[in-house]
Symmetry: D2
Subunit: 501 residues, 4 copies
């Protein structure tokens, strides 16, 4: 064989050379020792803000500082914001109609270019704002320099990002509605399919599968309202706050706010550029949704496990193993469950970033966007995946019903019967029933397996009539209190949820 021990050691060395090749490696010693203080090329300072600067940034500085790789995703918002801004500047007489016209046409051309994928990233231009402005100057010349009158990148990024996050709330709502619709459909099919209700993952009382699925409809409904509340609270336009103090130009912030679809302008310029509550609140709502999805994912994983066997996922939502030929794994459910880690982490990350930041804008806040974008993408994937699974799961009704019959699941019904029929105080009925369970357990039967005589021996008030409440069907049908699991209730709940949707 060809690999000697020496080769093997070389392999280890190969193994050790991580991070080179695909993916880049800013951590290698070479990179750092030589480049940290060296300005990038011969380039002097930034041409848009570098008037007072004598030298350009170091290579590492440029790498940590530039955000274009991330914030290019805001290009639509950035151009929309600039078009609204210049329209206002023109109406207020701050720029001429001709200049404004040129600027607007130029911005539209840039939008067309970007739509066609022609954005050329340039680290020296830092972010999407400088990319757009620089391209505008290429197209229309020095008049481009009038666009940035009475604004700053601080309010510009604030308005771009708010527009994006507001729309992300609407997207979340749409995706949540799709999942709710899928749940309602399956709940309706299974309004009287019996399964065990669990507490502590112990069989507790029989419920219907429809009722169980409707619990998630409730959770997701709250999620929708959280996104709606967040969207309403962020519905104020920061454009015109300028750097931090407002401006001396006679701008009309009501006009730009309306043009961009906001309810109105923000009220304090310092707060306008310092605030990232809206992003945090979006992440908080995302995380809450992720928690709910993690619970449903956990149930799918447990239900698909052979000892349960409650469900079968279709091939389209299963994966196999590279070694075990028989495997059919619920990978999508596992990944949805895992993403709850990402969502909490995203909220944590931005929270730590904001902790203790003095007013007004600090560069720390630049880390807000990659966090929100990634959470947005993965929330979308999770909701779509869960919708797909819910739509296509096969529920194994026989397995579910059999499990519902285990664990003395109708013991509460016996206790309630004692209260209702025999007038026993509930606490005493509970104790009597506990003895029945103990007796049944001792002989390895369920409650119905005890004879009338045996039951009577435990408590003389128990009669043959008790058999009526000991079946899982009877149990489920009897839970007619509002919000209870009786099939009729479930159907009413589905109808009401459809109306809300």
């Amino acid at each position: 064989m060809t690999i000697s021990r020496r080769d093997a050691l070389k392999l280890a060395a190969v193994g050790g050379a991580v991070g080179c090749g695909l993916g880049g490696n800013p951590l290698s010693a070479q990179t750092m020792s030589s480049d940290t203080a060296k300005p990038v090329g011969t380039a002097a300072a930034n041409s848009l803000w570098g008037g007072r600067f004598g030298a350009g940034p170091s290579a590492i500085m440029q790498q940590i500082n530039a955000s274009i790789g991330v914030d290019k995703r805001l290009w639509r918002q950035d151009i929309a914001g600039s078009r609204a801004h210049v329209a206002m500047l023109a109406r207020q007489g701050i720029v001429s109609a001709a200049d404004a016209d040129a600027i607007d046409k130029g911005l539209q051309q840039i939008a067309a270019e970007y739509e066609a994928g022609k954005l050329v990233e340039n680290l020296a231009l830092e972010d999407i704002h400088l990319h757009v402005e620089t391209r505008l100057k290429d197209i229309i010349g020095p008049a481009a320099g009038r666009l940035h009158t009475a604004r700053s990148r601080n309010d510009q990024v604030a308005v771009d990002f708010r527009l994006w996050v507001k729309a992300a709330c609407a997207e979340a709502d749409g995706a949540l509605k799709a999942l709710i619709a899928a749940l309602l459909k399956r709940a309706e099919e299974h309004a009287d399919t019996i399964m065990p209700g669990f507490t502590h993952l112990q069989v507790a009382q029989p419920v219907t599968l429809g009722h169980h699925l409707m619990a998630y409809v409730e959770m997701l409904g709250r999620d929708r309202s959280r996104f709606a509340d967040a969207a309403a609270r962020m519905d104020e336009c920061p454009l015109g706050a300028a750097a931090l103090a407002g401006t001396s130009f006679p701008i009309d912030r009501q006009m730009t706010a309306k043009a961009l679809g906001f309810a109105g302008p923000t009220r304090n310029s310092l707060d306008s550029v310092s605030d990232r509550d809206f992003a945090l609140e979006y992440l908080s709502a995302t995380h809450m949704t992720g928690l709910h999805l993690s619970r449903l994912a956990e149930e799918i994983i447990i239900w698909a496990s052979q000892p349960y066997g409650f469900i079968t996922l279709p091939d389209a939502w299963s994966t196999g193993s590279s070694i075990m030929p028989q495997k059919r794994n619920p990978d999508a459910a596992e990944l949805v469950r895992a993403k709850s880690g990402e969502f909490l982490a995203a909220f944590t990350r931005l929270s730590v970033v904001m902790k203790g930041l003095p007013l007004a804008y600090s560069k720390d806040m630049q880390d807000d966007k990659s966090t929100v974008f990634a959470a947005f993408d993965d929330l979308g994937l999770c909701l779509a995946s869960m919708t797909g699974m819910v739509e296509t799961i096969t529920f194994n009704k026989a397995k579910m019903r059999a499990a519902a019959n285990s664990g003395f699941s109708t013991a509460t019904d016996l206790a309630d019967w004692l209260v209702r029929v025999a007038g026993v105080p509930f606490r005493e009925a509970h104790e009597i029933t506990g003895k029945c369970v103990k007796a049944a357990e001792a002989r390895g039967s369920d409650l119905n397996g005890l004879t009338d005589a045996e039951l009577k021996a435990i408590d003389s008030r128990i009669t043959k009539a008790v058999r009526d409440v000991l079946s899982v069907e009877a149990s489920v049908a009897s839970r007619t209190s509002f919000g209870g699991t009786a099939p009729a209730n479930v159907r009413a709940a589905i109808a009401a949820a459809r109306a809300r949707l």
Copy 2:
């Protein structure tokens, strides 16, 4: 001297014996090895739910399981919930009027006892629910056993805790209003006190202190609305969901919901006992408030630092040093800043607890209360401390004004003047101004320190008239755009905020 090396080694041993004495130490080897499997005393199973059990809990089990030390704080809610429940049971004919009357009187007596501090904690009784029920039995006898008809501890704790958290939202609102009022008062006093506005903690443009304080009024206003939204969303009563499936008794959940001040009952029994969104949302709102407070706290700490010297805290809000006789430390601000860690941690904790929990109730959820209670207490302390500091800080106006004059803070005004008066595109004006800053910096003066000739040499369009915009007072007065820092705007913003309050 009396302490030999041998004594010193003994000291080390003393040093090593942590956790004994004050505070208890469940981690010691003795405790664990002997007690884990040993039932507590000769006691048999729990008398309220132990019908089927043959043996009592182990000592360690009882210690990890019992929550009375924490949830006793819910006693008012627990008794209120029970009184509403029994009133409903009576009206629905599920218990007799006489029994209900006895129960209600008993509950009122217990409330009086607890109010007087007479709750005796007993680990064997696990939680506040069993403490109340057991005491009730002592007082009125077996009829007490009828109280738990058609409910479970699962819905009972859900309703108790919701009542508590809903009220906590109201408490937060009150405390936030007090802090806002304090800020408004100081903002009014300092509507035209000039200070440097910072971005990146670099002097950016002059602002007024009033305007700066009003930024926090905005943040805290959003905090109030988050607590309000959370309170509205949790305004559904879970009582009557019973264990998880509803009940077969003819209960009236509308009646209990109304009696307890809820808008109505929850809609799904499984969700009712599985849900802790309300606690998470309360913690999220608390955390957002904590983040805002951490920013103000950071500013207080920086402003009080000698090189800034913007503020002096009164003795009542300062502490000294055990070694440095001159120290006057802003400990309260530091502690408020630190608590942002607690609030994020509280949200993290409950989030991790809920991740991946299958329906319905799991015991994991018991950890919700200690987390929320601690966050509530510390939020109260933080808001009260910040209110106290804001009310009593001395602002050193001269220091603030001097700093506002540093860092070429009116450079933007020069650029804007070039745009407005000379018609220069803003981007070009920015560059010209950059050169002026460079020239002033080179000679160690501020912008006003450049002669007319020097300015003209940089750009011929700069005239003597530019002096009008280079003072910090002129700069501040010119920022009249909506939300800007001009004193008149600040006064209008204060008036509007008072109206909202």
Copy 3:
């Protein structure tokens, strides 16, 4: 019935009055508005550090500032540190032998008092350090004032807390060893008990229960080494760093370090009082242990669920339900699982506190102790609870073996047989086996249920001899690679682990 609608509304009001009564309520508006600026009583400034102060702290300030309620738990360490310090001061001639003697005797008396529970908490004395020093002055008079020579509370609390955390690492080690011992015992009993091995919670391959339990022995072994590494890294004594800069007194830091059992003194005075790495690292190790426990807890919960039925917990580790008489819930396992939330939260909390703190000591760091103490207590409870459960669980071997037989768990054995016996490339063998599984599934049998002819029809190389590898016993016995599940391997692994222990 006696509760009218009006009474019911009053109930709601009662329900709303949270936070009063038991537990205290610092958030009420009354408390805050009146007390924030009011000095406490007529008391002037702190008598130990208040020389330059004109007025005492406000009531709220005292409440947020005082830490005695928490750091009293450090009393042993505090007294040990002071005894070592004064012994050194005496040997260096900084205090007289007589004074040192008096101080040492006084400290011993205080230790005896505290041991007897006689510590009287006084918020005005802030922390354990001032409590001890003040009591010392009561006992021996002004000479007590010499104890604080050449030190500060900054290095004093650093050394106290390090001593405590170092010992906490040792306590964790002891508790981990107890759990490992319990696992080894059960693993030995079940070295050849067959159960299904899962991946993705799908039956994968049969394993032995002993092997499964030994996986946790590996995890907990890493946990032990993490606590050991942390303890070694924190084994430096900060005493003598004084406030932040060291001292001009001729102290001997080697002597105090040795006396307190440290390897030596810390090397930089600023770092000594600013550092909380040791606490963070302790929390990180605690959290990793908590994660491992959460996995075992999850398995206990799933295994105890009726559809699995792999285990039964004894009554001593189960709890019942207030409504469902048959329930036997694995509460302890659920609570252990939940505590993983606390441990991550504790790490998060202290991390957020430390983020961005300038040197040297800031009061924010005071929040370190309550966090660590609570994590320590709950780690102890979790390890003890898990040890108790592991020791007493009943494993239902028949249920486990039956489940091991499900899910075509020996499909890999068939594929491996094809490689070994028929020389088929593994990837092709995997595909052939996949077809066998599909055929078996279609007819509802396991792999052994296919006839020889059916197998041959799928691939002609499959002979009757394959039956030898299709039983779960054969499968398990064949996994003899190092670290594999064969019973002989498991016994060897247990022996090796015992040797390490």
Copy 4:
């Protein structure tokens, strides 16, 4: 002007269309509703593991499931692991020498291709493992199918990722050493540069800048040792654990472990594929480093703020403002501070993923890699940025010295003098000094500004000789205790640190 109100509303609509265009948008309703259940194209099941499958994955399933976009970064490790594996299979006679030779040559060819950037991503091939194996089959035909004998992707990814993380620990060490070297150089230059030492951000005692910088050398030294401990603990090779249970093939795990540079093989097959401690521990060490960097970053930001003016960053490490021409912002320091949020979030994310996962491998764990890779990249950027800043900062010694003189920074020296010279107990000396500070403050001078008579009036034991200790130079020079700030100590500490490096 051309933009009417109607156009403006359209702008808002444009603003609302987030997520389309650059960046992709999985959350849009269209995507989800149509694609969730649809298999990808006409493609049947995966050709490597799909033997039992009837249909391919849905489009969304493929998107959430595939990891090639992330784990391609492991290609070097994957090929190294496969080469070591096949070499062992050959030596053990499990594959023929000829097949092994072909496989090894094929793997080398793939490595050359990937090195040249020729990896073609294919979602249907899921991950780097299937990409390599599929490409190998293209090159050498069916013999490629023998490579996966006696292993699974579960142990394969475990070994790949461990190799990567182990190397990442070494990379971190190198980068930490570079930063330490930079700090040592600057500390040496400034071993006697005087600056104020702060506690609570209040001037406390004078220290030297060299001493302050050396505090970070201590922190970063601990960071190095944490990475070293983590690397040592993860130095066990999981290859050969196979799916979860080991294998029946006669493999030699010692051989592969050595070939890949590990100290030896892991001891339990279930743990081998379930464990991600090594990744968590790497993230924990990264986070601790990030916390230290956040503190230094905070100091750079505060020191660069005009009221401090302690430092000036060079143009290469500063950025400007789009609106304020005078700005020179410390963006790199702010971004380094912000990244502490990412590092804590990364640890949080993987922790939440692992919480409560039953053994053995679950797909949740796939989220480990993107988290670690991003943290690695940003740690590299942060360390390189901080090294660059430390190397090039200009320290403004005059400003620092002036600030060191403020805040009565030598008050402790006066108190210590009273102890040393006049024999006053420290506590009394502290109080006397407090009175001196109060007197000086009242007249607006520093301590030296009090006349001899005034000092004597406060306490008769104070003589003219006290002037010797009231200068900042004298104060610093006197702090000669081990670890103290005296210049001689600092130089000794630098020499010792160089020796350790």
